[in-house]
């Protein structure tokens, strides 16, 4: 369980990015992007650049979080997010403990709190948590004395995913200001969409959400949003939505949506919302195609687009580790702790 001992020769982070001040950073937890400033997000990007440099070394490790313990607890299945956080923590020489909680153990009562208090008693510094219930990380942040990172909660938020999405856009497009980002799919149930909406809006991008009308919330339009959500354009026609886009992001379609009557048929979804070459041709030349994964092959994105020149889907995964290193560093690597 314990990571390898820090080897000679890997310089600490401060030698890599010596002149970065983290004074704009105000967060003890990362629960949602709705309260992040532009400066904080920029800071994450700059630190991520430094982390990428570490990851490019032969020995991909820095001693920044030596002696710190990062616990991941996932109440929902996940492959990439969990692996990504674990690699990130190990690359910073933190001790990592992974706890898998089966979904069936989520029962009413204090069970979540009991689990969290146990983890706290074990001496964790950072808790990375995924849960099927929206808001569960808020309960954790209120009740325990650890930094909590939300690794996805219900349909609410997935901040590290949105940050790695934005980081990927920034590294390809240079900046986010004024860029048109179209998110296509099941917006209603998507925590990835919500976190991207907050982050991208804060960074000055123009966001368009698109999907079948039953999977678009009725309350994202400015007239019904009541100031609760950033301004986005809601468009149910995918051809119109992608017009002139810099980025086209497809979301994973949960196939049980059809069973619940939200979709007449997956076939019809593919026909109207799949990102195909023809649809992509309406976007800007060289527009990026993204997907938070895992992809349902042949449903959200056509195979030729998914593996084509515009796709940065694998790059998203790679950047995920560096972004999560930056987040762990900001939470546990500073002088506060």
């Amino acid at each position: 369980m314990r990571p390898m001992v820090q080897r000679e020769g890997a310089p600490p982070l401060s030698e890599t990015i010596p002149e970065i001040s983290t004074s704009v950073w105000k967060h003890n937890h990362i629960l949602d992007l709705d309260d992040f400033t532009r400066e904080e997000i920029e800071l994450i990007f700059v630190i991520t650049d430094g982390m990428k440099e570490i990851l490019s070394r032969e020995i991909k490790r820095a001693p920044t979080l030596r002696g710190k313990t990062v616990v991941t607890i996932f109440f929902e299945p996940s492959t990439r997010t969990r692996a990504s956080f674990e690699l990130a923590a190990r690359a910073l020489t933190a001790d990592v403990l992974n706890i898998t909680a089966s979904t069936s153990s989520i029962v009413k009562g204090e069970s979540l709190l009991d689990t969290l208090r146990t983890i706290q008693a074990l001496g964790a510094d950072v808790l990375v948590m995924r849960h099927s219930q929206s808001g569960a990380p808020y309960l954790a942040a209120r009740q325990v004395n650890m930094s909590v990172v939300n690794a996805g909660d219900g349909a609410h938020a997935h901040p590290s995913q949105a940050l790695l999405d934005m980081y990927t856009m920034r590294s390809r497009l240079g900046h986010l200001e004024g860029r048109k980002v179209v998110i296509i799919g099941d917006i209603l149930h998507s925590r990835v969409a919500r976190s991207n909406i907050w982050g991208l809006s804060t960074m000055g991008a123009e966001v368009v959400v698109c999907g079948p009308p039953t999977l678009l919330p009725l309350y994202m339009n400015e007239d019904r949003a009541g100031g609760q959500l950033p301004r986005v354009t809601v468009e149910s026609n995918a051809d119109k939505a992608v017009e002139g886009a810099d980025v086209v992001m497809a979301l994973r379609l949960q196939l049980e949506r059809q069973e619940k009557g939200l979709l007449p048929a997956v076939r019809e979804y593919v026909r109207y919302y799949q990102i195909t070459q023809e649809r992509l041709a309406r976007a800007k030349p060289g527009a990026l195609v993204m997907h938070p994964g895992p992809v349902n092959e042949g449903i959200e994105v056509s195979p030729e687009v998914s593996h084509g020149a515009n796709s940065v889907i694998e790059e998203q995964v790679t950047n995920g580790v560096a972004v999560r290193m930056a987040l762990l560093y900001l939470l546990a690597g500073g002088k506060k702790h």
Partner: protein, 438 residues
């Protein structure tokens, strides 16, 4: 009753049923109102009365709550008749109508007898049980409404669950006519609220919580009003929460349909934004809605479209709320904060004090009708039961877990200062709550 007479002197007496609002003294004797009149003019009695000075305070009929959950039998960890009636007395209530969603539910004479017996032996104020509409609250066959009436229920409801089957609701409205008791509808079209956690809207969208649209309440309210028109049955709509429901009741009353309605203090004062931060104490069904809904509910109260204010006091144990939002129980503990919440609206100029008292006294008495009405509940007319509330409209207090008598500490008002504090509650001529008394 062999209690000493009580003379309440120097207070501002408000009794909407008699259109009274002036400085008057009130003399209680043998469990009834004996005399009321000009200050210092009370008739002398052979035994000297206990004197309660109420200068600067309001003296009014004891409040009647049409809708609360006393949880007994079956959920004594959340509340008991002993604790719930004491919480009620603290809130200025002298009559509580308790909902039948207990375990076992109040769908048989035996359970109703049990509640009445418990209330007599352990309660401190009047408890009027509400019986089930359907056997076991399952929404399939009618409960034995006649025998329940004989046992002493004052209305019928499957509260907590709607009667989804329209035919069953029709029969309930028809059958209950024989006993002249209201059928109390929890309006919720469950195919629209399944999995819902809060009001459907922008806040739910932001928080990623499944919403419960106001339309889910409104379509069943519309259905039940249509059935009341068809059957001539007495329909009472529990805890209406949306502007659309107010409009439905308004139109139904204009057409002379026999419908009444209640609203809770929390739906009059709090919005969906209280859920921000995932406060499970703000999780309630029907959910807290919007400012627009509040405005319509207030207007409905002023016009008399809404007859009564009822607490829907729904106490829960800490463990029911200290968990993930989606797993937390619905409900707000409300008996003790009702008056303070409503006084906020009075202080903001939204409601007249007299109107608030009317909707807590004569209003609910009218909804009950029948025996409770005839026996003089909700008024201080001479000969009425000596149920009196004395409160300080300016008295401030901080809502905290420790400050609540109810076992249910589940209120989104924890940490809030309320203005409006009950000083004493008298039930049947006996002081059952006194501020500061142990």
């Amino acid at each position: 009753m062999s209690n000493n007479p009580i003379l309440i002197t120097g207070g501002r007496l408000i009794d909407p049923a008699q259109k009274l609002d002036k400085k008057m003294d009130l003399l209680l004797k043998d469990g009834h109102v004996f005399w009321l009149g000009e200050e210092g003019k009370a008739p002398s009695l052979p035994e000297a009365p206990t004197i309660l000075t109420a200068r600067g305070k309001v003296v009014c009929p004891g409040f009647i709550d049409l809708h609360c959950h006393l949880r007994e039998p079956g959920f004594e960890e959340k509340e008991t008749i002993a604790t719930g009636t004491r919480a009620g007395a603290r809130g200025g209530f002298t009559t509580l109508c308790c909902m039948p969603n207990t375990n076992p539910p109040l769908d048989s004479r035996a359970v109703v007898d049990y509640v009445i017996q418990k209330a007599r032996s352990e309660g401190v104020i009047r408890v009027l049980p509400i019986g089930c509409i359907s056997q076991g609250r399952r929404g399939e066959g009618l409960a034995e409404m006649g025998e329940l009436a004989e046992a002493g229920v004052v209305g019928y409801s499957d509260d907590g669950a709607p009667v989804s089957n329209a035919r069953l609701m029709r029969h309930a409205l028809e059958y209950s006519r024989g006993w002249k008791l209201p059928v109390i509808s929890h309006c919720e079209e469950i195919s629209l609220t399944e999995g819902g956690q809060m009001n459907e809207g922008a806040v739910a969208t932001r928080l990623g919580l499944k919403g419960m649209p106001a339309e889910a309440e409104e379509c069943m309210a519309a259905r039940d009003i249509a059935l009341a028109r068809l059957t001539g049955g007495r329909l009472h709509l529990a805890h209406i929460s949306s502007a659309g429901s107010v409009e439905l009741v308004r139109r139904a009353k204009e057409k002379g349909i026999s419908v009444t309605a209640e609203v809770t203090p929390h739906h009059l004062t709090l919005t969906e934004e209280k859920v921000m931060g995932y406060d499970t104490n703000a999780k309630v069904n029907p959910p807290l809605r919007t400012r627009t809904d509040i405005a319509a509910l207030l207007q409905g109260l002023r016009e008399g479209v809404i007859d009564a204010i009822a607490t829907d006091h729904a106490p829960h144990a800490a463990v029911d709320k200290m968990c993930e939002f989606g797993l937390a129980a619905f409900g707000i503990s409300g008996l003790e904060t009702a008056l303070g919440s409503l006084m906020t609206l009075v202080n903001q100029g939204e409601l007249e004090l007299g109107l608030v008292i009317a909707r807590l006294t004569s209003g609910p008495a009218g909804v009950l009708g029948g025996i409770p009405m005839k026996s003089g509940l909700g008024t201080l007319k001479v000969g009425s039961p000596a149920d009196v509330t004395i409160f300080d409209p300016k008295g401030e207090w901080l809502v905290s877990e420790a400050s609540l008598i109810s076992k249910g500490k589940n209120t989104p008002l924890l940490g809030t200062k309320l203005k409006g504090k009950v000083i004493a509650t008298i039930f049947g001529g006996r002081v059952v709550y006194k501020e500061g008394a142990p």
